[in-house]
Every structure is written in C-alpha cells, then in structure tokens.
C-alpha cells in the first residue's frame, strides 16, 4: 500500500502559500505559491538548497510564522498559531538543558494526572532507547541522545503531525544513520504524519514516502518524487541510485565528481 495513495485522508494541506521577508530596503521573496497535500500517516521530506525557504515553510505549518498569502489547513482547520497537536523537533537542541530527561519528556503532559503521566513518560523514554537516563541532564548526554530526548518529547504528547527541521544536522554521519533507522522504526510503530526538512539527498530517500523538491529562492515546488521502496531500504539497489540521480538532477548538481 503506497502511503501517497490519493484515496487517503489529507492531513496537512498547503494552499497557495507565499512569503516575503523585509530585509532593510530589500524584499526577499522566500516562498512562492506552494500547493501541497500531505496525507495522514505519510512521511514527506522537503528537500532543497540552503535558503530555499523550506524551514520557513515548516515554521508556517507549525504556526510560528504566518504566510503573506495562502494558508495551511490541518484536518480542515486553518493553522493560526503553535499547538501541541503538531509538534516541532528542532534543528538546534530545543530541549531544556536545565531539566532532566524525564522532565523534558514530561513537558507536554502537564494536564495528565501523576500516574498516567509517569506511564507515558516511561513508555516514550523506553521507545527512543533512553531507559536508564531518566535522571540525566542534557549536558551529560551525547548529541545523538539529546536528539532522542527531543524526539521523545514530541512523541509523548502523541501529536497528529511531527515537524522535523534538519533534526540530525548536527550529528556525526554514523549517529545520523542510526537516528534515521530509529525514526523509521518509531514512525512505522506510531504512524504519525511527518514533515521532514533536509538538504541531504540521501537522507530524503532513506526516509520519505515522497520527496518534495524545492527550487532556489523564491522557493517553488519543482517536482515531487515518489520513493516506492519498502523499509528497510537497500541503499545499494538500482532503484535507490535512480531516485538519487533524479534528485541531484532536479537540484541542478551532478554527483559524479
């Protein structure tokens, strides 16, 4: 069953989203007329060169910024601000360094009663593989573990949509690979809708059901590439290579050096 089956329920819908930034006297046209439908439970990567506005698009979907024209609908409702039904996993470490792993993961669960909260926090910490580190502070953890805390904090509130803004950008390449397979494992288990911003071609093919390729500024959707491969994906398969070639071509670079 392909995740991008048009019969599936639309989750996040971008309708003609455009955005400009005023930079001194200059006006930067960052996003131009973005139309995109992300389906329920789908993993979509936004891929594009630096400065193409992919993070801005994610911030708009998260309600942190508003578009100049167009709108973003989630479950048929217009996004008008941040909400814990749709949670961000940040590029830099967004977890709180002054709070323990446990308290960080419990951040979004303030409305639950004690017993229920403990249950959810422990289950989420176990899920991301941080059992035993509940009382640790972020400064005592490695970069990969911090990012797991961040993922756990997002999963704990059991959101409808998870936005990830280059979440593994600061990690070394081996940890990054591990984190990717972890995120796929969790995604297959939890079936959340994930919108994932990256400028890494391999990352997008390893993760996404569909890769949305954005052009350089002003960011426009230049093509949507489907990755019709089952997980775990064979990174050496001819199919993988074909998609990779296609994406590099769309980004205007050659990867034969």
């Amino acid at each position: 069953m392909s995740q991008s089956n048009p019969m599936q329920k639309p989750k996040v819908v971008f309708e003609g989203v455009s955005k400009r930034f005023q930079k001194g006297k200059e006006s930067l046209h960052v996003l131009n007329d973005i139309n995109l439908t992300v389906h329920d439970g789908e993993f979509v990567c936004l891929l594009g060169p630096s400065g193409c506005g992919k993070s801005t698009l994610l911030n708009i979907a998260g309600g942190f910024e508003s578009p100049d024209s167009g709108r973003v609908m989630i479950d048929g409702e217009e996004v008008d601000g941040p909400n814990s039904r749709r949670v961000f996993v940040f590029q830099e470490y967004g977890i709180f360094p002054w709070a323990s792993v446990w308290d960080n993961v419990a951040l979004g669960l303030r409305d639950l009663d004690q017993a229920e909260r403990s249950e959810v926090v422990q289950r989420t910490i176990d899920m991301v593989g941080l059992t035993g580190f509940e009382k640790s502070f972020p400064m005592e953890l490695s970069g990969g573990m911090k990012q797991r805390v961040e993922v756990a904090r997002a999963l704990a509130v059991s959101p409808d949509v998870i936005y990830m803004d280059e979440p593994f950008g600061a990690l070394d390449s081996l940890t990054r690979l591990t984190m990717r397979s972890e995120i796929i494992r969790i995604w297959e288990q939890e079936k959340k809708t994930i919108l994932f911003v990256t400028h890494d071609v391999d990352e997008s093919i390893q993760l996404a059901d569909r890769v949305v390729v954005l052009s350089a500024r002003p960011g426009e959707i230049s093509e949507i590439v489907e990755v019709d491969m089952d997980h775990p994906r064979d990174l050496g398969s001819p199919e993988y290579g074909k998609i990779k070639n296609r994406l590099y071509q769309l980004l205007g670079v050659s990867h034969t050096i």
Binding site: S84, Y93, F96, P97, W98, S100, L107, F137, M139
Partner: protein, 274 residues
C-alpha cells in the same frame, strides 16, 4: 634580612626542580613560592628604604594579632558584613523580579531601560553625601549604598539573561502550550538562572569594594573605618595593612560562598564551554 634574600631565590630553585614534581604538586608549590618571594621582596623593600612608617610583613602580622586581641576587629568585620548582606539581600529581592519582568515584557523594557541605564554609571560612592543626608551616619546609609552598588548589576544582568533566552527554547515553550506563570517557572527563570547567578557574583564583588570606601568616608564602624582610624590614630600603618589583608581574605570568602550556587544541576549547563 638574610632570610628574605634567600627567599627571593626560591622561585629560581623551584623553576629548576618543578619539572620533576607531579602536576598537582606544581599547582600548589609554584604559587606558594611566588607568594613567599613577594613577601620577601616587600620585607627587603622596607628594610632597604629605611622607612619607619611602612610596616614589614612581620610588623603587619603583629598588628593583625593586636587587632585580634583587641576584640575590635570582630566588631568591625561584623559591621561591614551586616551592611553588605542586608544591602545585597534587598538589591536581590528587588533586582531579580524587576529584571525578569523588564527583560520579558517589551513594553516594560521600553519604559524602564533608559532610566536604569542612565542611573547605572553613577558610582555608588557619589551617592555617599545623599545617603548620609537621608539616613545619617550609620548602618542605614551603608545598607543603602550597598543596595545601590548591587542593584544595578543584578537588575541589568537579569534583564540581559531573560532577553538572551534562545528562540528555540521560546518556541518549544510555545509549541507545548506553556503560558503565564507556568512559562515563567518552567522556562524564563531556569533559562536565565545561570546568568543571574553570575550577575549576583559581580554584584557581591562590587558591594565588597564599595562598603570599604563608604565606611572610610561616612561611617563610624566597619573595616573601612578601621583603616582610616588606624592611620589617624598615630599612623599605625601596620594595622592599615593588616586590615587590608582581612578585607582581601573576606572578599575571597564571599566569592567562594556565592559560587556554591553555580554547582546545582539546574544551572551547571550555563557554565559549560561550548
């Protein structure tokens, strides 16, 4: 004198041998030897210049013992510490809440920042006449001056700390629906705390500098007054230097005390090199 000359040579001897010592011993031995040779230099300087007013290290030590025996020293130490602790406590009680609000609320910042920045560069010493006019000679004026001396570092430090809270943390808080007092308790205060503690350290340091000056000019007790009194009562420079030593040691003690605040798990992240 011969001993002093020999002591002067100690660092040279130490330099020769120090490579053979383990690292931890070096960290202790080297500074101690430098201190000893500085004292020796002081002793030689006094003896060679033939001064009868400036005390040698030994005379200073005798002066210190005399101060201890006279019971006077304790009273003056307590007087200074009393003013510093009350002034510092009041400055903290007003400065931290004020800094938090002014740092967080853009409107409060716009309204209050200019007056805070305008008053800040006026030395607390310049306030001494007004302090005496309002409170008379005594603890009240001292506490008021220490309040002024610590209030600005604490308030400005807290303000800056709150304004420095990273965008990611603010957005995380927003994303998970933190608002009002909960936002303050869970994000604003803990995020600002390491820098607030640093500003407390600076404030206490300044307070300790200012109290001595204030007591020299406008008070009739305390360590600053003791220095002035020792000079006026027959040029007892041995007591002057001994008191200076006491001021230095107490200053180090106060700093060590307040640095204990940096050791809590909730703030240690703020002092890590990145």
């Amino acid at each position: 004198m011969t001993i002093s000359i020999l002591c002067l040579l100690l660092p040279l001897v130490a330099l020769y041998f120090c490579d053979r010592l383990p690292d931890r011993a070096q960290n202790f031995v080297m500074p101690s030897l430098v201190t000893v040779s500085m004292v020796a230099l002081w002793d030689l300087g006094v003896v060679l210049s033939g001064s009868t007013v400036f005390p040698t290290p030994l005379q200073t030590w005798d002066g210190f013992i005399e101060l201890l025996d006279s019971n006077r020293l304790w009273g003056d130490i307590i007087a200074s510490l009393f003013r510093v602790s009350w002034g510092f406590f009041l400055a903290t009680a007003v400065g931290i809440p004020l800094g938090l609000v002014v740092g967080w609320r853009v409107r409060a910042f716009t309204a209050l920042n200019p007056i805070i920045q305008g008053l800040r560069p006026i030395s607390p010493i310049a306030w001494i006449p007004i302090a005496i006019l309002w409170f008379g000679i005594g603890d009240g004026a001292g506490i008021y001056l220490i309040f002024l001396a610590s209030f600005f570092p604490v308030t400005v430090g807290t303000m800056a700390a709150v304004r420095n809270i990273s965008l990611v943390h603010q957005r995380s808080a927003e994303n998970f629906g933190l608002e009002g007092m909960e936002l303050f308790r869970r994000v604003v205060l803990p995020a600002a705390l390491p820098q607030i503690i640093t500003s407390l350290r600076i404030a206490l340091g300044v307070a300790w500098l200012v109290i001595v000056a204030a007591e020299m000019v406008g008070m009739d007790s305390g360590l600053g007054y003791l220095i002035n009194d020792a000079r006026n009562a027959g040029s007892r420079y041995d007591l002057v230097v001994a008191t200076m030593g006491v001021i230095g040691v107490l200053g180090i003690g106060l700093d060590l005390l307040i640095r204990q605040l940096e050791k809590f798990d909730e703030v240690r992240w703020g002092y890590v090199k990145r």
